[in-house]
Every structure is written in C-alpha cells, then in structure tokens.
Amino acid sequence: MLRELYDKTGDWLRGTGPEADIVISTRIRLARNLANFPFLSRANTEQKREIERLIREKIKHAKDTKDLHYIRLSDISTVDRLFLMERRLISREHAGGDGERGVAFGRSETVSVMVNEEDHLRIQVIRSGFELRDAWKIIDEIDNILERELKYAFSPAFGYLTACPTNVGTGMRASVMVHLPALGLTHHIEKVFNAVGKLGLIVRGLYGEGTQVLGDLYQISNQFTLGKSETEIIEIMESVVPRITSYERMAREVLISENREQLEDRVWRSYGMLKEARVLSSEEAMHLLSQVRLGVTVGLIKDVTAETLNALFILTLPAHLQKLEGKELEATQRNVLRASFVRRRLGNTN
C-alpha cells in the first residue's frame, strides 16, 4: 500500500476548491479517547496494546472506515514513518513516538485515523482548497460511526475528554494551509499574525506546532476548543480566513502594479533555477517553489500549473525522495536527486 503512494499525491493537493490560489488545503481533526482506559502517558504497554487492538478492529468493521488501509507504525521503518508525516497522514509526534500505535487512511488520502497518538484516537479529514463545511460533514459522519462502536470519554460539562486540556470540549482543531508569499515580500505578514491572534486563531508552520515556516506556507487554526460549538469554530474561521486571503491578493496586486519588473525578475529567476539547478536543498526548493507558485497565481508564468507545484512541495521532501529512489540517501545525495526530479517534473529533459 505504501508503495502505491510514493509517486502520487493525495487529493488535497489537487489545487481545486474555493480560494485554491491561496488556501492549499483545509484540515479538521477530532481528538477522542476511550472511557475505560487511562490516557496514553499513563497507560502501560499492555493497555496500549489493548487500546490499539480494540480501535483497529472497530475501524476494520465500521461502515465508513472498513475500506481504510491500516498500518501499525511499529511494523514500518523510520523513513516510512517520516514519509507518512510528510504526507500529513500522521503527525510529527506520531512518527517519532513509541509503543503500539497505528494509522488508517484511504486511497484518496482524505481521511486518516491515528491510533494512540497523544489521544487514543485522532480522526482527520483533509480537503483541497477552503472547504471547512465539507470537511466537517465528512469527519462528523466518521465520528458518529466510530462512536457507535467505541465508548468515548465524554462529560456533559467538559465535552470530549482529552489528554491535554488544550483540546478538551469539541476536541476539534480546524486548520487551513495558506500560501502567503506576497504578504511576506511586502513585510505585512507580522500584522496578519497579530490580528489573527486577537481573534482566537493561531498561526503555525507547515507541520504544526514548533515547526519551521518554509515556502511561505502557514497553518491557521482555532486556539480554543471549549465553550464554542464545532459550527461556531467553523464560522470564526470562515469569517477570518477570507480576510487574510483578500489581504494576500491585495499585496499581490500591489506587487504587480508597482513593482512589476522586480516581481517578474524574481519569479522567472526562481523558475529558471528550478529548471536548471543540479543541487537543491529542501529549504531552497521550498523557497523557489513558493516564488514560482506566486508567479503562476498572478498569471506571469503560464506553462506550469499550481497543482504541479503543490505536488512538488511534498514530493521533494527528504523521505519522499528516498522512497522514490528505493534506498536511504545522505543529504548531499538527496540534494542532487531533488534537483533532477524537479527538472524532470518541470519538463526539462536535459
């Protein structure tokens, strides 16, 4: 199953859906725990095994999840776990964790269910573009179906009980991955973050908490999970995110109308580097891809699609390159492979 994933990408990278020029994807995750077990930090090996087995069996039988592919993370290599993380099918913590744990995901990579992450169950749905309602509809249904099979830890006062009190209540984290190169170039990004913080949302790097911001990609998500219903959380995001995207669009227009030559030079130079470079680090690739993506979305570059670029953001990550090549590679070897992979994808046969 993993092999099938190496050379393709998930549906959420299609570059389709509302606001897809800026909002790459929408993700919702729900944190759930079983009522009759301790949380994982206090569960012993035997209990972890029991929780994993119980949830795995239910996933394999429940109507909406039985077609998902289940992988026990202890059965696969470190590179494969990193691969699943780069793919956003599992979290960084889940990739690096220990003990009995697993993940179930579908062929389109829209749905994934992590077992024994920080909570017993982390259900996630990712959609291309700005599709919160759609993502909620899917995840709500999966949650309902699993809930019939599993006894969730729930209290009328505090809602769904989670290992960390920052997730208690709805257990829901809704987030959008946005590409904001123009706000970065015009030095307005800090303003956005300050404003967003005041509205109860937080900004993070590509792979969640504490991760580096690369390629002008940011994740904006709700900070509070208690005291607001799922619908209210979605409504807040729906009122804030379009303001950020229109701010980014405004910055793009300003760049075009006032600094056209500089912008053109920047995006075409980046495109040239991607098409001709022989050595590319992951950071450099992300940076150049971001510039070219900006060029494509403002209509300066027409011979490559945003979808191709979206895919390259993921396919050029370290674990992806190693799986593509079928062996473990040093960083210097990866940089050579990355450059040749990008050249080929951008139609340069030299």
Binding site: N33, A35, F37, P38, F39, S41, R42, E118, D140, D143, N144, E147, R148, K151, Y152, A153, F154, S155, P156, A157, F158, G159, Y160, L161, T162, A163, C164, P165, T166, V168, G169, T170, M172, G200, F224, T225, L226, G227, K228, S229, E230, T231, E232
Partner: protein, 172 residues
C-alpha cells in the same frame, strides 16, 4: 574545654563563623549545640518558601497539591508539571483546579457542541437547543427573521414548548 553556653558540660562541638574580616569561634556541648540547631531548623525550608510562593501565584495549586486521582493515581502536581492528564477521571478529580485553568486557556469552562448519542438523548437535545438559541440570537441581531423563524420552529420541535415562539412573536 567547658561549653561556652552552659559552662558545665564538656564542649564537643566547635563552630566557626566568619562575618566580614572577623572570625568567631564557639565551643559548645552536645545539648547546647542541639538547641542552637533547633533554632536553625525553625527557619522555613526552601520547599515551604516555594509552597508559599505558589499559594500566592496560583492558589489552586496550593489547595490542590494533596489531591490525586483515585482511578489512575496521578497527582495534581504531576499534572501541572507535565501538562498532560492521566485518565478521563482526572477532569472530575481535579475539577477545582482545572476549571480556572480552562477559563484561562479557552476563556470558557463549559462544553457547547457535539454530544455522543450514547450520552443520552436528553443531553443531545439539550446541547442542540443551547446551540440553536445562540443562532437564534444572532439571526435576530442581523434582522434575518426568516432564518430566525426556522430556528425557532426547530427549537420548538426539540423542546416541545412554545415559550420561545411567544418571545419571538413579540420581538418580530
């Protein structure tokens, strides 16, 4: 040498105190030295000082510091230092400390939103009505009476009472 304090027993403890450039020596018997030590012991220990400080900064920790969850055995202090709870029961066991914490974290301490259907139909309905009432307020605020009427009908349907209906008629 006789003890400098009682001048009776033999001095077995020899203390040297240096303050500035002055050196002061004391020769005491066991008993007198012990009494001196007791005075030293009466000084608050670092733990006491810390506990007092915690009581000033976060009173709930002081009060909760002796609490542990009967189900998983986790103590409240363990939770505060790791930030992770031990089991679902902790929310009940540590309620007193957790409520203010949740207030700080989320600006709220009560769940509104989805309820698992096995938690009981009554609770599901109660939560839905709670949500609908909020939506109703919003719709009225926006003067979207068509939407408000629909929400009102749904609340009416769920709660089986017509008090909401009456209120809205007056408003509209």
């Amino acid at each position: 040498m006789k003890c400098e304090s009682c001048n009776k027993r033999h001095a077995t403890v020899h203390l040297t105190e240096i303050s500035g450039n002055e050196k002061r020596e004391q020769h005491l018997c066991d008993e007198c030295a012990h009494n001196l030590n007791n005075q030293l012991i009466k000084m608050p220990s670092p733990t006491d000082i810390l506990a007092n400080l915690i009581n000033q900064v976060a009173p709930e920790i002081g009060e909760m510091s002796k609490t542990a969850c009967p189900a998983c055995g986790m103590s409240y202090l363990e939770f505060r230092s790791s930030g992770r709870l031990g089991c679902p029961m902790d929310y009940t066991a540590f309620k007193k400390g957790i409520v203010p914490l949740l207030e700080k974290m989320h600006g709220a301490s009560e769940h509104i939103g989805k309820v698992p259907s096995r938690a009981g139909k009554e609770l599901v309905v109660k939560n839905e009505v709670l949500q609908l009432r909020k939506e109703l307020d919003k719709a009225v605020e926006k003067e979207d009476y068509e939407k408000a009427a629909k929400i009102r009908d749904r609340i009416f349907e769920l709660s089986g009472s017509d008090d909401v209906k009456g209120t809205l008629r007056q408003d509209g």
